[in-house]
């Protein structure tokens, strides 16, 4: 299981990863559109650099959750979490319902709003490259090794090692280690990265599990409702019969 570790203290904000991503996926140049969220990501930009005061540059991309909400939400399994850790998208299955965009807690999936045949657009961790044993295009392009790629356990170990070595430099937290059941894109740095997601509450559940209870209740609810209605039908029918008989009896008397 692979992961990307981004050390934001090393990022110089050169946009090489953005350019490499565009080249690797053949994404067209983007033009600001009315429907873009103002964070640099768009249907033509699968990764972007968010700059923060004090020369802080944070690369934004799909977090490739271990328990992805988008995968659990997609009604046709067009979004799939692979063994490599990458959450990939199969356009041929997609129906365009955009439920993944509602479900994603990070607001990552973007849409081809201007096209008559639109698809969801998001980072696929260069799945084609990593199954060939290569590194994602953005990792290769990074001139300062601010973003690195490897097995998730190794990346976690590396992150903790860096924090341990320079505790004054880093915040003692690996963003993405435990959030929402764990993410495959980890961040360490000297500033708080809460802004990359929605305001996280301490009791934020693992998202796919929120619907599990309700979805598991579906078959019992179907059968149960049938049984209840059957019972009701029997009861009402019986009451009708008894009433009719009582009436008959009264008539006879």
């Amino acid at each position: 299981m692979k992961a990307i570790l981004t050390d934001i203290t090393k990022c110089i904000g050169c946009f090489e990863c953005v350019a490499a991503c565009k080249a690797a996926h053949g994404l067209p140049n983007d033009v600001p559109r009315e429907w873009h969220r103002n964070d640099g990501l768009s249907a033509q930009n699968w990764t972007s650099i968010v700059s923060k005061p004090g020369s802080h540059y944070i690369r934004k991309q799909c977090r490739h959750c271990l328990e992805p909400a988008c995968v659990s939400a997609c009604p046709v399994a067009a979004l799939v979490r692979t063994d490599t850790g990458a959450v990939i998208y199969e356009p041929s299955k997609c129906i365009g319902c955009r439920y993944c965009m509602i479900a994603c807690p990070f607001g990552i999936p973007r849409y081809d709003w201007e096209k008559a045949v639109p698809y969801i657009q998001k980072c696929d961790m260069c799945y084609d490259r990593i199954i060939q044993g290569k590194q994602p295009a953005c990792i290769e392009a990074c001139p300062t090794q601010a973003t690195i790629f490897g097995d998730r356990d190794e990346m976690l170990a590396e992150a903790h090692r860096r924090i341990k070595e320079e505790p004054d430099k880093y915040l003692d937290r690996v963003f993405g280690e435990k959030e929402l059941g764990g993410l495959s894109v980890l961040y360490i740095g000297d500033i708080d990265l809460e802004f990359l997601s929605y305001p996280a509450r301490s009791n934020t559940p693992v998202l796919p599990k929120t619907t599990t209870t309700a979805m598991n209740a579906v078959p019992p609810a179907f059968v149960g409702m049938g049984a209840v209605m059957g019972g009701l039908y029997w009861f009402c029918k019986r009451r009708e019969k008894v009433q009719a008989e009582t009436k008959k009896d009264e008539g006879a008397q």
Binding site: C14, P32, E34, I95, C97, Y99, P105, G226
Partner: protein, 625 residues
């Protein structure tokens, strides 16, 4: 025109407009007609037609269960109307869903690609199955009218109970699953609406409001066609629904109290105000009206209670489906096209509904005046040799005329601008500033490129080299700003000035000098710019001028710089990075800049290239995070 005809003409007009806009949506994509965005992926079609529509069509399973399972045969005459209402409600929801899907022709995919963790997958299946059930429940009515396929009709009528059971069981699933849809957004949905009980709340409210919607439909029909009302029966049905509605309200309140969120209902935020309105309009007022016997049995009371309950439920669903989701961008408001399509789908359904009410035996209630019966055929009176009654053809003529006119208006009303450059932000371009070292930031967003103009002049060969990059200046003018013609950041601009060419003080040209006499006088057939302005396209320039449309500022700048930079990157080994984006789009100001320029563009707190304070640009940047 009588009121029925007027009402139907309005419906046809809205439908016509919606068909025109819907066609545009199908061929030019969602961006051309809607304000949907990456931050608001679901809009009015989901929030008005799909999610509330399915709940309001819930009467189909509730009322049939009351009649056939609970054996309350006194409501039997409403069976057909409630089944029709449900059938059309689901058709409406399905149509809106198809309009909203990015790839509507793939709508059948959930049948073959299974993903049983997804609430939407389950809803798709249930809606497909329940539409089939409703179709089978309703089809005997038109068959009875025509007299065809009587064996199938008899079979379906005989086994109606099976369909009723299936209807109840399937509806239980998807009415509740509509609530499950939003369980996955605990961070996004506002606390007053998010609850782990959402599936149960959605189901109970659908059970409550379904019959109220039926009562509303009956009230509308009776008002439209001046039919007598059986208020006591409607009151009985309404009273029972009000009890369920009260249970819904109670669960909602207890849930809020138990989770400790009740306080936020009174914190004065706009969400809290919407919640209070929704709860009082949708639950408290209808329950109070329905619990007072005298009000319940009066048409006015029924009208108020049912319409308020329907509005309240619609608001609750719309809040869950979009209004109360956390915003990360500008506030979504639907375009006029979206609203029209939304209303058009409803109008088309109402037209079909009224058609069925007029033509088929929807209930045994007699028309008060046989002459008023809309579908009554005119009769030929042999004695006087005239036709009696209104000819049906008149209605059709009016409706088709209205429809066609609306269609035409719709086609004209959709702006071609929206189709061609849908969603491109209009950004006026301003000239670069800075002297020898220019700051090129055409749209004033604070992000730009520092361009060492002086250095480039030196490298290109001094004063003779202007034409290498600056091309086609206006006559006798050597420093026209790029922004004068490349006016928009992202879309091309027409730079041809027809009046200047024709004016006696300008070009003083006769028509025939540019336009061929035999051809239509358009830009396409006229003489091209470079045929006359040979001197204005310098020999040594890098730029090819093809037509009178100046490309956008971004394209023009990139066009000038990139080709040359890439070429130089190949030639000069030590500068292999020259062709990359970051060679010019630096974040930190390059150190080689003269000191004064460096300070001018360098904001100490941000430590990267920004312009001196420009409020608009700064506020836009803040919004991003």
């Amino acid at each position: 025109m009588n009121r029925v005809k007027t009402f139907k003409s309005i419906l046809w007009a809205i439908t016509g407009l919606a068909v025109a806009f819907g066609t545009v949506r199908m061929f030019w994509g969602l961006g051309a007609v809607s304000n949907l965005s990456d931050t608001t992926p679901w809009g009015i079609w989901k929030g008005l037609n799909v999610v509330p529509g399915i709940a309001l069509a819930g009467g189909g399973f509730v009322v049939t269960a009351i009649i056939y399972i609970m054996r309350r045969t006194e409501f039997q005459r409403y069976t057909r109307i409630t089944v029709l209402l449900a059938f059309l409600g689901y058709i409406t929801a399905a149509t809106a869903l198809v309009a909203e899907l990015g790839l509507p022709w793939m709508v059948w995919h959930p049948i073959i690609y299974w993903q049983h963790h997804s609430a939407l997958f389950e809803i798709s299946w249930c809606v497909i199955l329940y539409l089939t059930v409703l179709f089978l429940e309703f089809i005997p009515v038109p068959l009875e009218h025509t007299g065809w396929l009587s064996s199938i009709r008899r079979f379906l009528t005989k086994y109606k109970l099976v369909l009723v059971f299936l209807g109840v069981m399937i509806s239980t699933l998807h009415q509740s699953s509509l609530g499950t849809l939003f369980l996955i957004t605990p961070e996004k949905l506002h606390g007053l609406w998010y609850s782990s009980l959402l599936p149960i709340l959605f189901f109970i409210s659908a059970v409550a409001v379904g019959p109220l919607m039926l009562i509303l439909a009956v009230l509308v029909i009776s008002a439209l066609y001046r039919q007598p009302l059986e208020t006591d029966k409607l009151a009985k049905l309404g009273g029972a629904s009000a009890i369920v509605l009260a249970i819904f309200g109670a669960i909602r309140l207890i849930d809020l109290l138990a989770s400790g969120k009740m306080g936020s209902a009174f914190d004065g935020s706009w969400q809290a105000i919407v919640f209070l309105i929704e709860f009082s309009v949708g639950v408290i007022i209808p329950v109070v009206i329905m619990s007072i016997g005298r009000l319940r049995r009066s048409p006015a009371g029924l009208w108020t209670a049912t319409s308020l309950a329907v509005i309240g439920l619609g608001l609750h669903r719309a809040n869950c489906a979009g209004i109360m989701l956390v915003r990360t961008g500008p506030i979504y408001f639907p375009t006029i096209y979206e609203i029209t399509i939304s209303l058009g789908i409803l109008s088309a359904a109402i037209i079909v509904f009224l058609y069925c009410v007029e033509r088929f035996k929807m209930w045994e209630m007699p028309w008060e005046d046989a002459q008023e019966k809309p579908a009554a055929l005119p009769q030929f009176d042999r004695a006087s040799e005239v036709w009696l009654g209104t000819p049906r053809i008149a209605g059709r003529t009016v409706y088709s005329l209205v429809f066609v006119i609306a269609l035409a208006v719709g086609v004209v009303a959709i702006s071609t601008d929206r189709i061609e450059s849908a969603g491109v932000r209009d950004a006026t371009v301003i000239p670069a500033r800075g002297g020898d070292t220019l700051f090129v930031d055409g749209n004033l967003d604070g992000y730009g490129v520092i361009f060492a103009h002086e250095e480039h002049v030196k490298r290109e060969g001094g004063n003779q080299s202007c034409v290498r990059c600056h091309h086609m200046n206006l006559p006798l003018d050597k420093n026209t700003e790029c922004a004068a013609c490349h006016r928009n950041m992202y879309s091309g601009a027409d730079v041809f000035r027809h009046d200047w060419h024709a004016s006696p003080n300008g070009g003083n040209l006769a028509c025939g000098q540019c336009h061929d006499q035999d051809l239509e006088r358009t830009a396409a057939t006229a003489t091209t710019c470079d045929e006359c302005h040979k001197d204005m396209v310098p020999v040594d320039t890098r730029i090819a001028i093809e037509q009178y449309i100046a490309p956008s500022y971004a394209d023009a700048m990139h066009g000038v710089c990139i080709e040359c930079h890439r070429q130089k990157a190949l030639e000069l080994v030590e500068k292999e990075d020259l062709g990359r984006c970051a060679a010019c789009h630096t974040i930190d100001a390059p150190q080689y800049l003269p000191e004064n320029v460096y300070h001018m563009f360098r904001d100490t707190s941000f430590n990267h290239v920004v312009m001196p304070p420009i409020t608009d640009a700064n506020s836009r940047k803040e919004e991003a995070y």
